[in-house]
């Protein structure tokens, strides 16, 4: 098993790999989302107390998990950027921010439309909701900071510092329901306790989470390809991946 993983740390060899993974995972995400929606919207039973309003869980929980996880991955790539000064790690961090922001926005939006019928309000300044809103602002801050700095390498370092500092917010979101007395309910799923919901509900959430993973990786890889081309223009190697044929326009 002698694979030279460092080969893929250079944009040259990473670009075609990113393309094929993006397509494969995009297709897988569509399949999983289709299955997850069938389970979540049709097969899973109506909740005894929340009626069918609870079905928002199948997008709300996966989106909220992804928003937090993508932030940690972005902070990880940011740390690699500061530590090793590698270009691709900064590009990965740059590519993750918009999808992370979208996931945070989806978590807040679907949470609002779930909160209204169950708690009687679209929004409350509850610890979990407020810290998730801060997460969205951190993503938007990283994106805005990048667009404000002209030199991409300086922008990489500035965004990396902001992303790493902001990472303290993620455990705050995660533990907020335990630390404070929140309107938001506790964890839906625990690895240690017995499931408190129907198996089909749990299965729906897990399948939709897998779909969200595949979707996020797929779209981030496609975005990192665009970023590589934008930022490496002038590097001779890019010429080799250019296809001049018509009808093969990816």
């Amino acid at each position: 098993m002698l694979i030279n993983w460092f080969r893929f740390s250079s944009p040259v060899s990473f670009y075609p790999l990113a393309g094929s993974w993006s397509y494969a995972l995009g297709a897988l995400a569509a399949l999983l989302a289709g299955a997850g929606l069938v389970v979540g919207l049709w097969i899973a039973p109506t909740d005894a107390t929340q009626g069918d309003a609870y079905r928002i869980i199948f997008i709300h929980v996966p989106a909220a998990w992804m928003a937090m996880f993508i932030y940690l991955v972005m902070a990880g790539w940011s740390a690699a950027t500061l530590g090793f000064n590698t270009r691709l790690s900064a590009m990965m961090a740059q590519a993750l921010a918009p999808t992370g922001a979208l996931m945070a926005a989806i978590a807040l939006w679907t949470g609002a439309f779930w909160g209204r019928p169950t708690w009687g309000t679209y929004w409350a300044w509850d610890a979990r909701m407020t810290s998730t809103l801060i997460l969205l602002f951190l993503y938007l801050g990283v994106i805005a900071l990048r667009s404000a700095i002209e030199d991409p390498r300086r922008a990489d370092r500035a965004c990396a510092v902001l992303a790493i500092v902001g990472a303290v917010n993620v455990p705050i979101i995660y533990f907020s329901v335990q630390w404070w007395n929140t309107l938001h309910q506790g964890s839906s799923i625990s690895l240690t306790a017995a499931p408190r919901m129907a198996m089909t509900m749990l299965a729906g959430i897990l399948v939709m989470t897998a779909a969200a993973w595949c979707y996020a990786i797929s779209v981030v890889l496609a975005r990192v390809q665009a970023i590589i081309v934008e930022r490496e223009r002038g590097a001779g190697w890019l010429e080799s991946l250019i296809d001049w044929r018509v009808g093969d326009d990816r």
């Binding site: 919207l41 049709w42 109506t46 009626g51 069918d52 309003a53 079905r55 928002i56 997008i59 709300h60 989106a63 918009p98 999808t99 979208l102 926005a105 989806i106 939006w109 679907t110 439309f113 779930w114 209204r116 019928p117 979707y215 779209v219 496609a222 975005r223 390809q225 665009a226 081309v229 934008e230 223009r233 002038g234 890019l238 010429e239 250019i242 001049w244 018509v246 009808g247 326009d249 990816r250």
Partner: protein, 63 residues
């Protein structure tokens, strides 16, 4: 079928949540693909300013 769309009286909440997510993901996918295509078009322009616009025209025609 009407029962399904009624979502036990919670249609507004459930479909506003699911609809917005479907729209948001569709927009993100389209935006990322357009960004990648634009980056490649600009790269072709910088490599061959004569051939690149001709190719773009042919791509337009083939659509």
């Amino acid at each position: 079928m009407a029962d399904f769309f009624a979502m036990g009286g919670y249609a507004w909440y459930v479909w506003m949540a699911y609809g917005a997510v479907a729209l948001a993901l569709a927009v993100e996918i389209a935006a990322v693909r357009a960004r990648r295509r634009r980056a490649l078009d600009e790269l072709r322009m910088s490599l061959d300013p004569v051939a690149a616009p001709r190719r773009m025209e042919r791509v337009e025609e083939s659509r």
